[in-house]
Symmetry: C2
């Protein structure tokens, strides 16, 4: 959404010649100029200023840094890749630098910090400004914190969802029934989505699934799926895959269904903060923008899951249902057991191996993952009317056991650009039980933390493989989990944390259980 | 507060050779490496990672950017000046890069976002981590927003103040009576501090004043004073000035009385947010760390001042008094008229000219500034016992009119490093009345905004000179204020805002007033 050229002072001569240094700042737009740049001096731009950059009909708001070195001359500027790509410049192009417009919508954010509620148009203005790149990370952190501290009411939540839909692409499909599922994270290894897509699609129901990358967890579905097939599909590619196979598992960010959401997620990740309103609007805006008609939501509940109690689960479910109702999305929400990780693997590649084992009905398959996938697929098949009430489970089980789901999954991977093998970690460390006993509790959060310290999700092969589950008997010296890492530094870092957190897997004396 | 070497994995070979490019990122520590840096690859560091840099016994947490260019080779790193100075490195030195410790204290911040209160040690841990440079801007924004959204209770507020005192230097003086004053901002041009210091010090009372730079206003006292004399005094320099002259007006940040406060202020400025708790802790921690025994606080109240109503003023006064009481600081708080700017000038140099005019008893002196300075000095002289109750005003007036205050002020400026003339702006634009009438209201905030758009406080000569005050009669075409700027870009920017905000100075029909 470029600004019109009349938005700003359009002083002659405010131009800089860009040089590409391939500066990776994640997705933060940054411009570096020489301290003596005449343009910056005449405009009064100092380091850390927010400036507007424009090239032809593209513009972006960037943070200005300045240097004093012969790396750049006084009429040159280096750009971060985020700014470079957004402006669509080439080496040596001239860009125009100017003061950005005052960020009026920040007044609504500030108002909410001090207790006012958002009126209908406020969130639309805020989200539009975020989409246009006008908010600095500090502003995004302020918005997210304000929304987490005083939760949005129902009207605000519906407005936020609508604003996020409006800021992105919106898909339309030629079929009346478009199935979708989502898990409200927090449960390591709970990677049912690729299995549900395979089963439901094999039953003839269209399921064009967009998934997210990890926010604060060691892997998102998109991260895991990416170890099996490309997920960075644009709209046209996604449509081709779905028209051919009836389904896909693509990264939502590449489809730009909700580009603002990805910017919020990046900042939320640094804060390690999941706000309920952001979560609800994030989930629902993507489902609605994806053109879904029927949705099954998995809400795992456990003391160390994202949702910690039945009461909190029912509260969140009510919020999700209110938004679903406002947008006519037929939704069923399942509160599920979230007391321990699902499957063996935690981390992109390790979870992908579990998925393949279930599809192939291998003897090493994690049965908990299998049964959860069947339950969700069954619910969805009944919700869309493909199965009679009560008959969904049998239909899902047969689709899986017959190998039809596996064949469909492989076909989808091929359509997405080619199936591949998940990578293997070069370094592992086995953690063993320091005494015998029965597994009484497993701390999902700290186990997830080990996987993250080991490098997940950025390091695809990194993570944790869990060897025990709740109520299992364990002998002293028996492996309880294995840390996988791609580098020695990360393995050490995860080992250190593991070593000083011996109570992640809590053992009861077996005798005490009698 | 450097980490101990045992805090982290100390892998051999995690070294990079630093190159100075004088990269100014304001005070944000940044490191730039080559994308193919073997150290970063082996440790799994990707762009935007937070990394720990160490050199000898100094360390800092920095944000990592990566580039792909021949500007740096794979074993080199460029540092921002903030990181360079903190590590005390020289060109070609080796620095050690590693994973930072997990930021445990962020858990307390997150807890407060979700409604828990800070226990006593929490804020100390948070402030220690901020002082050690472990918090990213996003984390600081999260903390400030959480404190603004749900205000700290009295115990939390006292803890925060104490934690901020503990994180910085603390001054001690050989005299039992150390006078201090402070204005809780929001009123453009209300630059009484240099005048009060001159009067009180001329009466023989020690007043070693530390002042702040602007947070969200067009000038702080330190910004204004800097146009008259150096204010970046370190502790030793400040002590020398005070022992010679009995008083000073120094920048608090250079004395490092509350280094964390300055970091919070930088982020609060980007958010354009003043949180009550941050404000109270900021003010009181600096007064207590400065070794003050007696304090007079000026709280201007008006519809467009920082404090908008008597009720809000009394609430804030109560909070300030609670903290003052907890630290045995003898405090008197004055609620004053904040309906319009004080004096003629808004912006560092323009306010300095008003100060000189009052000291010199010039015919151009703003009488409102003079009478406010006399009132505050009188209150302080009575509070410390230098004047009998009721006799302070006469003592202050005589000290000013006799020229003793002016002589003392010049002596203080000389002791601080030499008195100088405030700079003059190269460009001005006169705004005139579009009709005749009587001045009914003046919008402090938008007038301050014009001064900021014109470049204040970074551009010292920039700002607004106000030609009218409340209840004055104005003829059509008469100048009502003049915008001063150092650059054409800034002047244009301020003019545009001024042009589309014709109601900053509201005129009544004169006839209507009869």
């Amino acid at each position: 959404m470029p600004d019109s050229p009349n938005d700003n002072n359009n002083h002659q001569g405010n131009n800089l010649r860009v040089r590409r240094i391939a500066l990776d700042t994640h997705d933060q737009p940054v411009i570096i100029t020489h301290r003596n740049s005449p343009v910056c001096r005449s405009e009064g731009f100092a380091a850390h200023a927010r400036v507007r950059l424009a090239h032809r009909d593209h513009s972006v708001i960037a943070t200005l840094y300045q240097l004093e070195s012969d790396l750049l001359d006084e009429h040159e500027a280096a750009l971060s890749e985020a700014a470079w790509n957004r402006l669509e410049v080439n080496e040596g192009d001239l860009i125009h630098i100017s003061h950005p417009q005052p960020l009026d919508s920040l007044g609504w954010v500030r108002g909410r910090v001090f207790g006012r509620r958002f009126e209908h148009g406020d969130l639309h203005a805020i989200i539009r400004d975020i989409a246009a790149g006008r908010y600095a990370d500090i502003h995004l952190a302020m918005l997210l914190t304000a929304m987490a501290t005083k939760d949005l009411d129902d009207d605000e939540l519906i407005s936020l969802t609508e604003a996020m839909i409006d800021a992105g692409e919106r898909l339309q499909w030629d079929r009346p029934v478009i199935a979708d599922k989502h898990c409200v994270g927090g449960l390591p290894g709970n990677r049912t989505t690729p299995l549900v897509v395979a089963i439901v699609t094999a039953c003839g129901i269209w399921m064009p699934k967009t998934s997210s990358r990890a926010i604060t967890s060691p892997a998102g579905t998109a991260d895991t799926m990416e170890t099996l097939a490309p997920v960075d599909l644009d709209l046209a590619a996604m449509r081709r895959v779905v028209e051919r196979e009836g389904g896909c598992v693509a990264w939502g960010g590449a489809v730009r269904l909700s580009p603002v959401d990805d910017m919020l997620i990046r900042v939320a990740r640094v804060m390690d903060l999941d706000a309920e309103a952001q979560l609800v609007a994030s989930v629902m805006s993507k489902k609605i923008a994806a053109g879904s008609s029927h949705l099954v939501l998995d809400l795992p509940i456990g003391p160390t899951a994202k949702v910690r109690s039945e009461e909190a689960g029912r509260h969140l479910a009510r919020r999700l249902e209110i938004v679903a109702g406002a947008f006519d999305l037929d939704t069923r929400i399942l509160l599920t057991d979230g007391r321990q990780p699902v499957g063996h693997g935690i981390g992109p590649a390790l979870e992908a191996e579990d998925i393949l084992a279930v599809l192939d009905n291998s003897s090493r398959q994690p049965l908990d993952l299998r049964s959860r996938a069947i339950a969700l697929a069954a619910e969805l098949l009944e919700l869309v009317g493909a199965a009679e009430p009560g008959a969904g489970k049998q239909m899902a089980t047969e689709t899986l056991d017959s190998g039809r789901a596996a064949a469909k999954f492989r076909a989808i991977c091929e359509a997405q650009g080619g199936m591949r093998q998940p990578p293997q970690a070069g370094r592992t460390h086995v953690v063993t039980a320091t005494r015998s006993g029965s597994v009484k509790a497993i701390d999902n959060r700290r186990l997830g933390r080990i996987a993250k310290l080991a490098g997940a999700p950025a390091a695809r092969a990194a993570g944790v493989r869990l060897h025990v589950h709740l109520d299992e008997a364990v002998e002293v010296g028996q492996p309880i989990y294995t840390i996988h890492a791609e580098t020695a530094g990360e393995l050490n870092y995860a080992r250190e944390y593991s070593g000083s957190n011996g109570d992640i897997i809590v053992l009861d004396e077996i005798g005490e259980q009698c």
